[in-house]
């Protein structure tokens, strides 16, 4: 058991090891949240957080090109694209948004007619 802690402390001294433990642990938690959360908006925000945290890992891994691309594409544009698609889908569980509430009412009426 002490050997395990010794090797853990040894790993945390290395910047790459420390970052991969801290950031990787957060990424795993966010990934579980993105998969298991009830609302889809929540999982979209968790997906954006995963992308932002992976930017930190790319910087530590000495890949600044990949980091700047992931920061612009993965956490900025992909979230916007999926959010627009989500508003078009009229997802019923996400009734916080005023506009989606209105759309839900319309789609519910349409469903009763059907």
């Amino acid at each position: 058991m002490t050997d395990f802690f010794k090797s853990l402390i040894e790993m945390l001294r290395d910047p790459v090891g420390a970052m991969s433990v801290l950031v990787g642990g957060l990424m795993i938690i966010f990934a579980l949240f993105a998969v298991e959360s009830k609302k889809i908006v929540d999982s979209l925000i968790a997906l954006s957080a995963i992308s932002l945290l992976s930017v930190l890992l790319f910087v530590v891994l000495k890949a600044p090109d990949v980091a700047i691309t992931e920061a612009a594409v993965g956490s900025g544009l992909a979230t916007a694209v999926m959010l627009f698609a989500l508003w078009r889908v009229d997802w019923k569980a996400d009734s916080d948004n005023q506009q989606i509430k209105k759309n839900n009412k319309q789609s519910d009426e349409a469903g009763e007619k059907r």
Partner: protein, 117 residues
């Protein structure tokens, strides 16, 4: 123990596969696909890391080239941009599916199709 970043990317990949198989919503499955994308990108970049290497850019601070492997980074640069194209196309397809069948659950979609046929 130094391979911890490989284990991190494998675990995130496993979570993505679990999401694709377990979730009943096509939107959640698309999000899981994007999680797998991120995990594979981290794994490929980590394959090219050299200990105490520097970022592959010539500058006055690093006169002697002690670079990490630049080829995986170039490949991942391609993969990220293709990934957002896949994501946009997939979301528009989901909007179409929802418009046609009124649901995003694969089981309900199958039932609706059987009734129609």
């Amino acid at each position: 123990m130094s391979n911890i970043i490989y284990y991190v990317s494998f675990i995130i990949l496993g979570i993505g596969i679990y999401g694709i198989v377990s979730q009943k919503n096509l939107f959640k499955q698309l999000i899981s696909l994007s999680i797998i994308d991120t995990a594979v990108n981290i794994f490929i970049v980590a394959l090219g890391y050299v200990e105490w290497g520097e970022a592959p850019i010539y500058s006055t601070i690093t006169p002697v080239a002690n670079f990490v492997d630049p080829l995986p980074q170039a490949l991942v640069l391609t993969a990220i941009v293709i990934g957002v194209g896949i994501l946009a196309l997939g979301s528009v397809l989901l909007v179409h599916i929802n418009e046609k069948y009124g649901s995003l659950d694969p089981d309900e979609i199958r039932d609706t199709r059987e009734v129609v046929e």
